[in-house]
Symmetry: C2
Subunit: 378 residues, 2 copies
């Protein structure tokens, strides 16, 4: 069994108002070239094919072209699911005809209970779903979290699983390690729900979508492929590509294949004057790449953007380095947890707009925060 | 060759803010029952499958269900085109897979130059297109009207037509008789473009969509099917259904098959008091049907709608009979042609709102009309 695992194409995504469709077309066509190089059994696309529930006409056309190339022109079976960014109903258009050509797309929770048999593998397709759907499906009010709901779904699959075959699950969800690291623990303080890794123990491979970092989870048989492109500057240092999986009941081989990008993304942290020197600029493809600039010594520079764009035309973000809260930390900033809502908004505003709040803005914010707090205590 | 010709489903249509999806589901499922009764070769759907370029999720799901029933469950070939209400790109999703299951959908002008051979028939699918598309395609600046553009397209088809076979054209356009009637002549005074009927002389049957009245064109071999439901109160007296065509090179038989509707539409013209009597109400399925009321003797009645809705809950329109311009005429009102734009808007407003324009409204309108007229003379 040899297949490619990809996810999170997010076709139609914009980055700071810039349309990434050209980048997506370039990268995903390179992905198709990779498909042609390999002698694959199938490809898995683990959700978020589109970025929005109502994709633009251009996004619709691009996804169609890519799927036609893969499924019809390369005659390669596709196993795909909808993600939280997809509209189930819109993504499902054509589904009944796709399945007649070995393109299997699951968009409903109950689709996962149909096992697709492909050679010596059984493939289960679990689209993104909310806990309430499992609650309704199983008539069980206790299924209120992603973990309990997913566990219940998987337990149902286990009732009929044939452990002598290669069992593959495709899912779009946030899976956390059984023993979370510090940063994952911090995240789980918030509202983000995750699914414990031990739920999946009977599968030979779990092909995940949702997180854009291919190394988001450190498990041998449970992997994110990550997105094929960087979709925010925080992803600029991540490897972008697909996973090539070779799998028998005895052996498992996982290889990450980087896919050539049209443009790179760079987070520049430097002083304002520094970035215009020839030596500095030569480190980048300045005409082509996307830049986020975090610059020091901006004081006294009244309108920096025009000059920056002259040298780095695709500069999409500009922040002042001096105003940054605490640039030495990557994880959730401890200082932030001590601030009250008004202070949080204030420092965010200062960081983004490079100016302080006016008294009118403060007043409006105080009023809104007051109303929200009032609501919460009621 | 035996087939059903339908068009203008307009799935997702609303009538005065009322969602017609239930009505559409009912009627189109009855159409499918009719399909099962007949031993058909195929079905033609001549455009405007959706009502809007971005159909709702519910509309998307309903159209999918209907097409699956027809093409997959009944295993009936479909020949369809996009209409002016459809988004080509969105309707085309899945097209590459549909065609592998005898569901042929044309959304681009150039698709018409591919001839579909089905038994002894050649079928040409001409989606709705704008004259400029033909202008670009043929590199001919003279193609500025629907008539000249369509004629050029058809002439191109005629270069390779095989007149020994049954030739069927499917199109979504406004075809006018060679000898227009009075009412058609009046329409052509406006900006609506039409295509002359003699353009189509080499076809054995032309299956048209666009006009909702099945009898809009009085030609033996060039027919509108009309919409399967009434979509405005002006259509309430039209027969609604599909055409059943039986066709050989020698014989032609056309039968209009009415399709059972969920609700009827009624244009009521009466005095206010009259409609509440038992005898009057017994003429209708008052709980169920849609009503447009044009009532006399409304003077002095301050808030008529609640009482009307008590007896006729699906009353969607209410006008005062007294305020009507000239209720005795059905065709374009001669009086209207003499009015200037402000007067036209004024009388429309009075008819709809049952009140006169305020001086501020008049001023704004005068300004806008002035600007538009200025633009036109530039």
């Amino acid at each position: 069994m040899k297949f490619i695992h990809t996810a999170d194409w997010h076709i139609g995504r914009k980055l700071q108002q810039v349309d990434l469709l050209d980048d997506q077309e370039f990268v995903l066509n390179n992905l198709i070239e990779e498909i042609k190089e390999q002698d694959l059994d199938f490809i898995i696309i683990a959700g978020d094919l589109y970025d929005r529930s109502v994709p633009s006409r251009e996004a619709t056309t691009l996804l169609q072209e890519l799927l036609i190339k893969i499924n019809i022109e390369c005659d390669l079976p596709i196993f795909a699911i909808s993600g939280n960014h997809d509209s189930r109903e819109r993504l499902a258009v054509g589904q009944a005809w796709f399945s007649k050509h070995n393109f299997y797309l699951a968009t409903q929770l109950e689709d996962v209970f149909h096992k697709f048999q492909y050679k010596d593998a059984d493939i289960y397709l679990l689209p993104y779903f909310e806990p309430y759907e499992a609650k309704v499906y199983f008539e069980d009010d206790k299924l209120t979290t992603h973990h309990t709901a997913t566990k219940r779904v998987i337990d149902e699959i286990y009732k009929n699983i044939d452990e002598s075959r290669i069992n593959i699950l495709v899912a779009h969800t946030f899976v956390a390690g059984a023993d979370p690291t510090d940063s994952e623990r911090e995240i789980s303080i918030g509202t983000v729900e995750n699914v414990g890794v031990n739920v999946f123990e009977k599968f030979d491979y779990v092909a995940l979508g949702h997180l854009h970092n291919p190394n988001a989870l450190n498990e041998e048989r449970i992997k994110y492929s990550g997105s094929p492109l960087a979709y925010s500057f925080s992803e600029s240092n991540q490897q972008k590509g697909v996973r090539l999986i070779e799998l028998t009941k005895e052996n498992f081989d996982d290889r990450f294949i980087p896919i050539k990008q049209k443009r790179k993304m760079h987070n520049i942290v430097a002083d304002y004057d520094e970035i215009f020197s020839k030596e500095y600029r030569e480190k980048f493809d300045t005409e082509n790449d996307y830049f986020s600039m975090e610059l020091g010594k901006l004081e006294g520079v009244t309108d920096p953007m025009p000059r920056i764009k002259e040298f780095y035309p695709n500069t999409l973000l500009l922040k002042s380095k001096a105003k940054r809260l605490d640039s030495s930390k990557n994880s959730v900033n401890k200082e932030m947890l001590k601030k009250n809502p008004l202070e949080l908004i204030e420092s965010f505003y200062e960081e983004q707009v490079l100016d302080t709040l006016t008294s009118t803005q403060r007043e409006v914010l105080e009023q809104i925060i007051g109303e929200v707090e009032q609501d919460e205590t009621n």
